[in-house]
């Protein structure tokens, strides 16, 4: 191997890549824009939309209840419900989203309650519609409050203290630090995103310097130069690896910045749910650990994609070969988001192992035995892929496929 020649090829490929719009978009723009958009942007937008929907007064119609003033008063007392006059086409109005829900109170409801009988109130809604769901929740809350009042009155009438109904309470308490809770919630997504962006970052340069070179007719030009094939492959490989690592580094950095900005803006708090308790802090050591673990994965992707793309005669053909690889990578990367714990067997499964490990690293958990297995097994897979890429460049039937 001649390092000078590898360097010459690398510098030339880098120069060409920096002048290629497709490579720049996939390697630089996607990680720089996608992460902030998916985290800070999309997350804040969803939170704001849900928050606004919850703030709005839900338009609700009451069906019946003329003989039950108690329940009507309970519903009307809510400042989050706007009760509209009853109309016969209430069903159509729910479907048309003119009203969000209708409450059907059976005849003689209040009388039944007075006789200690059980009665059923129906909430008619639009399943799957967010605003209808919010209205249903608000109606339920008010009806439950009214029911509690009825129960309280009944118990008082019999001189039974309300506490008799709740001999004990059950409460859950989180003992994990907020950073780990946040890591457990988002770690899988981070691993998935980093691996996926690492793949997309290397995809275009891999196709461009193999199938693209064949298509443009420069393959024969470079093969007529005195450079050894192994030097040529390595020069090209380092360029694809650079693209993959730059994409991964930018995505990890962009992710860290996005979450930091998100935390500062208290975007989670605005969601007003349990998410308010989530806190994601990514330290420099975590970013560095993820980057080191992603390194052999990037080598695997770079060499693997080059090998596959070299089979193709054109850029378009290479795209059709490489598209299925996206699924092969996405499936194990997505699996990391499922409640799967890393074990010795899974530590040998390429991509899934790195993805699961990323999840652990984000939570600040370092299982050194698994880290060693994953790093070395991925290095072995990467070395095999690189060996295959070199062999492929020595095959005339692949280089001059017609």
């Amino acid at each position: 191997m001649n390092f000078r020649n590898v360097g010459i090829v690398y510098r030339k490929e880098l120069c060409e890549a920096l002048r290629d719009r497709r490579t720049l978009i996939s390697s630089l723009l996607v990680p720089l824009i996608l992460f902030p958009l998916l985290t800070a942007g999309l997350g804040a937008a969803i939170s704001a939309l849900i928050g606004r929907a919850k703030e709005e007064k839900a338009t609700v119609m009451i069906l019946g209840g003329g003989d039950s003033p108690g329940v009507l008063a309970a519903l009307r007392s809510s400042d989050k419900l706007s009760i509209v006059p009853t109309q016969s086409n209430w069903k159509e109005q729910i479907i048309d989203k003119t009203i969000r829900a209708a409450v059907e109170i059976p005849p003689g409801f209040q009388e039944d309650l007075a006789r200690q009988k059980s009665a059923t109130v129906f909430i008619k809604n639009y399943n799957g519609d967010l605003k209808s769901g919010i209205a249903t929740g608000e109606v339920q809350k008010n009806l439950e409050k009214y029911r509690e009042q009825v129960v309280h009155d009944r118990l008082s009438a019999r001189d039974i203290p309300p506490a008799a109904l709740t001999p004990f309470e059950v409460k859950e308490q989180n003992v994990a630090p907020p950073e780990k809770v946040g890591g457990a919630a988002f770690g899988g997504v981070i691993g998935y995103m980093v691996i996926l962006l690492c793949l997309t970052g290397s995809m275009y340069p891999a196709m461009d310097i193999t199938a693209g070179e064949k298509e443009r007719g420069t393959m024969e030009t470079i093969l007529s130069s005195p450079i050894a094939r192994v030097d040529l492959v390595l020069g090209k490989f380092f360029l694809v690896l650079t693209a993959a690592l730059v994409t991964a580094a930018l995505s990890v950095t962009s992710m860290g910045v996005s979450f930091a900005v998100l935390e500062r803006l208290h975007a989670f708090d605005r969601a007003g749910s349990d998410a308010a308790q989530l806190k994601l802090q990514i330290h420099f050591t975590t970013v560095l650990s993820i980057f080191i673990m992603v390194l052999p994965v990037a080598v695997l992707f770079a060499a693997g994609l080059m090998t596959v793309a070299l089979f193709a005669k054109s850029y378009k053909e290479a795209q059709s070969y490489i598209s299925p690889i996206m699924f092969i990578v996405i499936i194990p990367a997505v699996c990391a988001m499922l409640p799967i714990d890393l074990d010795a067997k899974l530590a040998l499964v390429p991509i899934l192992n790195a993805s699961l490990l990323c999840k652990e690293l984000v939570t600040g958990t370092y299982h050194w035995n698994f880290i060693a297995i994953i790093f070395f097994s991925t290095c072995v897979y990467a070395a095999l892929a690189l060996f295959l890429a070199v062999k492929m460049f020595q095959r005339e039937d692949v280089l001059f496929r017609s």
Partner: protein
């Protein structure tokens, strides 16, 4: 000097089985001479030249180029060869100068030597006006000049041209023809493949007629005229090739 010794190349096709693209081809091409390989499409010209340029490896036989065996020392052979064909395109995102410099560096030239060599070639070929222009923005003529500069940058002793004028307009083709002549004047060993008779008549010191991978006839134009009792090269070519010709459609 090029000395081909029984060069043979087999390709394997799933439908047609083994295809003998080049079959036991032997010839000698001396410095200061142009050897013209004349043949129809699919005759085996490109495969022969690709083997001489060590882009393809022979299945059997070998050749010695500038004292280096093409099988044993392919990289040494390539250091001494300038290869130009219609398939040797330019990198579209590099400038004309970057393209030439890239190949100079790959040929082991030091930066100072490279700079002088590039300046000299660009001046000689009148390329200074477009040296910083990207190759995808060059006209066909400019591209051909850049390709010529690319083959010349390491000052090779052997020049291999595979149908270099194919698809070019008359003026651009003339630039190439003049360049090939200049190579001979500078004492380089030149091998040149074509199916254009006029180019062969104008340029070649020795003509080899190739068909179905076999070298069927060889000699100077005068020798071939005398041997086949015919003045017109096209008629000579047809006489030699016709008994062996299998059209592309039947292939």
């Amino acid at each position: 000097m090029i000395e081909s010794r029984g060069l043979t190349k087999l390709f394997h096709d799933k439908k047609r089985g083994a295809i003998r693209a080049v079959d036991n081809v032997s010839f000698i091409c001396k410095p200061g001479q142009i050897y013209g390989l004349l043949g129809a499409n699919g005759a085996g010209k490109t495969t022969t030249l690709r083997m001489l340029a060590t882009i393809l490896e022979p299945t059997d036989g070998t050749a010695v180029v500038c004292g280096h065996d093409i099988v044993d020392h392919p990289e040494d052979v390539r250091k001494n060869v300038g290869f130009l064909s219609t398939h040797t395109a330019l990198y579209p995102r590099l400038t004309s100068q970057e393209m030439v410099e890239y190949f100079g560096r790959l040929n082991g030239l030091e930066e100072n030597t490279l700079r002088k060599r590039v300046d000299d070639i660009f001046t000689r070929l009148n390329m200074d006006s477009f040296r910083d222009r990207r190759c995808d923005k060059l006209s066909t003529g400019m591209k051909q000049k850049t390709s010529i500069a690319r083959t010349l940058v390491h000052d090779p002793q052997v020049m291999i041209f595979d149908e270099p004028t194919l698809g070019l307009d008359i003026m651009t083709a003339r630039t190439i023809i003049d360049f090939i002549r200049e190579c001979r004047q500078r004492g380089k060993t030149v091998i040149f493949s074509t199916h254009i008779m006029s180019e062969v008549e104008k340029l070649c010191d020795t003509i080899g007629i190739i068909q179905s991978g076999k070298l069927l006839a060889e000699g100077s134009l005068a020798e071939l005229r005398e041997r086949y009792r015919e003045q017109d090269l096209e008629e000579i070519f047809v006489q030699v090739v016709a008994p062996h010709y299998v059209s592309q459609e039947n292939n």
